[in-house]
Amino acid sequence: MNIQFKKGVLEICVLSLINSRDYYGYELVQDISENINISEGSIYPLLRRLSKEGFFETYLKESPGGPPRKYYKITEEGILRTKTIKEEWIEFTEQVKILLNKENQND
């Protein structure tokens, strides 16, 4: 898949996943890279940026048999942002679909 696509989609995926439940970095990265082929290192800077913009809070939680892990939790702002960006995404893909169908009709 085209790299530009991925970068744009990544933010939506990260927001949407953390909106569904709290994640720690590693499992979030695994969940995403299972479906989207992206260099995993680029997800952490995105998590930091979105946290800094106030969409996530972080906290440390003990894990069985190891040091505590850093968890990401969605904020009120983050919930709003997820809603908006999802709507934009759906609207956008609908428009693209219409255009692609037009091309098929012209064939």
């Binding site: 995993e40 930091r48 892990r69 850093k70």
Partner: protein, 197 residues
Amino acid sequence: MIEKQFITILKKNLKGLDDEDKNEILFDYREHFRLGKESGKSDEEICESLGDPAHIGKNSRMELLMDQANRESAAGNVFKVVMASFSLGFFNIVFILGPFLGLAGVMIGLWATAVSVMLSGLASSLFIIFKPIISIFIPYVMSPEGVGISLTVFLAGIVLFSLGSLATIGMVKLTKLFYRGTVQYLQSNLKIIKRSR
């Protein structure tokens, strides 16, 4: 590559950041390595899927410096960002350093002009006021003769001083604008670079 090498390269590319920021970034990747190994992956596999540590470091550093420059205006911060942008391998020696140095030169020139006009006005007026005292210490001091000429020089001095002061105030505004502009230009530049990767 193994974890140690990855972290070393990453650290090298985070130079100049606050320890707090640096540690936060390193924490994330160390945790990633730890959990990756717990789930049975090898160092090589983890490094492979993380991507180039130098690239990750440079980008994280650039973003943090940009943030800092946006929050607290200081000449040093802008300079740091300009330098950091080179390390990202921008085509920027031409597109950033040239215009940046050129404009910075113009700014310095304008500052010098504004301040010197202001100071020369002040000096002329003060000279006329204190001429009697000065001529006690330096009897042969060159000076305009006659009350009329003295008054003209005095008033011209005040006018020059006022103009110079206005120009200086203008320069303060212009310098702020230049600062904002530079940061914003670099930011848009960074976005373009990121998109093309």
